[in-house]
Symmetry: C2
Subunit: 342 residues, 2 copies
């Protein structure tokens, strides 16, 4: 049988002071006489008192928890993002609750209305499947910061990565290497934010270089997994078109595509150059190592948590819609073996 935990009341009684005085000591309220403080602290120590957060939170009307909603934790990018967010949140005394949306529109909408929203003070939200028609759903009555894509909706705090500029940069890098028949792998048909923007950056670079995008060199589906990358690559190869490079909308798809190329006896970068997006840890350890865009994960996490914390603390302009922050994190291209031109 677990014994009942020590409460503030117990401490107060034992120290011969009022409940509130203990509360004041615990919360570092300045106007407490030193001797009183010492006495209380000694008893706290003696009894091993630990605060009951549920009670405090009920009283304060908050939970101390923020949610991070991502498609899937097993996608390396999101695991690394979660790691960065947890670290950033710890710094400001917040605890992170991770929710997976499965990367589907339904899952992403559900997270906005889930009863779990009442368990958290705010939401860091990284939707990938929402369409612009869903923008209305983002008009929520709790603090929220969008992550990763460009805003679907104005008036909501947002920390974006440089999807379009990054994709353009990496595409230009492929073009600079003399590649012209460049395949695009990823959910091109979805209207989804990041995919859309990265694809746009790709097309912008291509057309700026006067190179046509062959529709037969485009494949992929909504789920940005290793399998998708491999399958899309297979699909393209089976169409019998020529190609000399692949830009996958994220790293795991690029790695899946590389795997498929290898299975079919094609060499990277000899026959086909491959580039991705995200700079997950694996990208520097794959064989060959993968050229990619580093979207500044740590910066994104720190900034986003900071914005959310500001909202929670009532800073950041309450609900003055006009003052929504729109921040784009810096990016960097990591040039590696997979796009080398020997």
């Amino acid at each position: 049988m677990t014994v009942r935990a020590v409460t503030m009341r117990d401490v107060a009684r034992r120290a011969g002071v009022s409940l509130k005085t203990v509360s004041n000591v615990v919360n570092a309220y300045p106007h407490v006489r030193p001797e009183m403080r010492d006495r209380v602290l000694r008893v706290i120590d003696e009894l091993g008192y630990q605060m009951n957060f549920t009670a405090r939170n009920l009283s304060l009307g908050r939970t101390g928890l923020i949610a991070l909603a991502v498609p899937e934790l097993r996608l390396a990018y999101f695991a690394e993002l979660a790691d960065a967010v947890i670290a950033a949140a710890d710094q400001v005394g917040l605890t992170v609750l991770i929710e997976q949306t499965g990367g589907t529109r339904a899952g992403e909408l559900e997270v906005l209305t889930s009863p779990r929203r009442r368990m958290t003070d705010g939401l860091l939200y990284s939707p990938t499947a929402l369409r612009s028609a869903d923008a209305g759903a983002l008009d929520v009555d709790f603090p929220m910061v969008l992550l990763g894509e460009r805003a679907l909706r104005r008036g909501v705090d947002h920390v974006a990565m440089a999807n379009e500029a990054g994709a353009r940069t990496v595409t230009e890098h492929l073009l600079d290497g003399g590649r012209r028949r460049i395949a695009l792998i990823g959910g091109h048909d979805s209207e989804s934010g990041a995919g859309n923007l990265r694809a746009r950056g790709f097309r912008a670079a291509m057309s700026a270089a006067g190179v046509e995008v062959d529709p037969r060199l485009v494949a992929g589906d909504e789920r940005w997994s290793r399998q998708t990358g491999a399958r899309a690559m297979a699909e393209i190869l089976e169409r019998g078109v020529t190609l000399d490079a692949v830009f996958a909308l994220n790293d795991v798809m690029a790695l899946g595509a590389m795997r498929e190329l290898f299975e079919r006896g094609l060499s990277v970068p000899g026959d086909v150059a491959v580039a991705g997006f995200d700079n997950i840890e694996e990208a520097s350890f794959s064989r060959p190592s993968l050229t990619t865009i580093d979207p500044g994960r740590t910066e994104i996490a720190r900034t986003a948590v900071g914005l959310l914390a500001d909202r929670l603390a009532g800073r950041g302009g309450e609900h003055e819609t006009a003052s929504a922050h729109e921040i784009v994190a810096g990016f960097r291209i990591e040039t590696r073996e997979s796009t080398a031109t020997d």
Copy 2:
């Protein structure tokens, strides 16, 4: 300004019933007259009432949250485990709070006494750096289920993976392929559970086959990362000893080692066979694909969550130490390219 949320009191007043009746309806208490129930439900709907979980939890003395403590989310194995645990917990109405220990002894001890323990009802705990001297720290006063290794301490529920048997099996597979100079990569010097057990399985297979383990073929450190694998591999190669196989204590180290072998112009499996442990998704997509042990993650997650839920519900023998469960999940060897013998 956010408006105050609708409370049960509001619903009660509006429906003209007592607070408790609303509570009864919400909690599907059987003795409520149908008309009353309908009336209340209609008002709930009308007002968009959602329960305040903090309040309920304070009253009930629980939080509905369980913690999952893992070394690092960015290690693919733990991301995949977390995914499996979240899914399993959802099934039984529990929410998972992920905590990272950093894989250090200090981090793992801290998680046991952290104030966050008072925010969760129970702990799924996957320590990797704890020594047997720390077993006493596992004598905690909240429900806990150990995950992944063999128990450091009797009397605590535990879902283990077949570390030793798995390692032995994969080592036998290398030996069967005619390899004799087999390197061991991973935290050999730490007394840590999984590492220790896997290393033991390795040594058992070796000695059963009458093959000596050359100490110069052993390297690694506490953190089981890709870098560790690469660094350990480099270290071994620089010692100038011959080798024809590598068993890394987990997949990411194996992948790091493969990368290092490649950089130095050695071929896998031609010159050196490589095997890992965990069967992370990447193992089947690496180049070459990686032979490894699948420790049955889903089964582990489901079982562990089930045990913890039983404890929380007061089932599972309260604190009758004698009745602690000790379960070993089934494993399976996945034979792939990295250990092929042509």
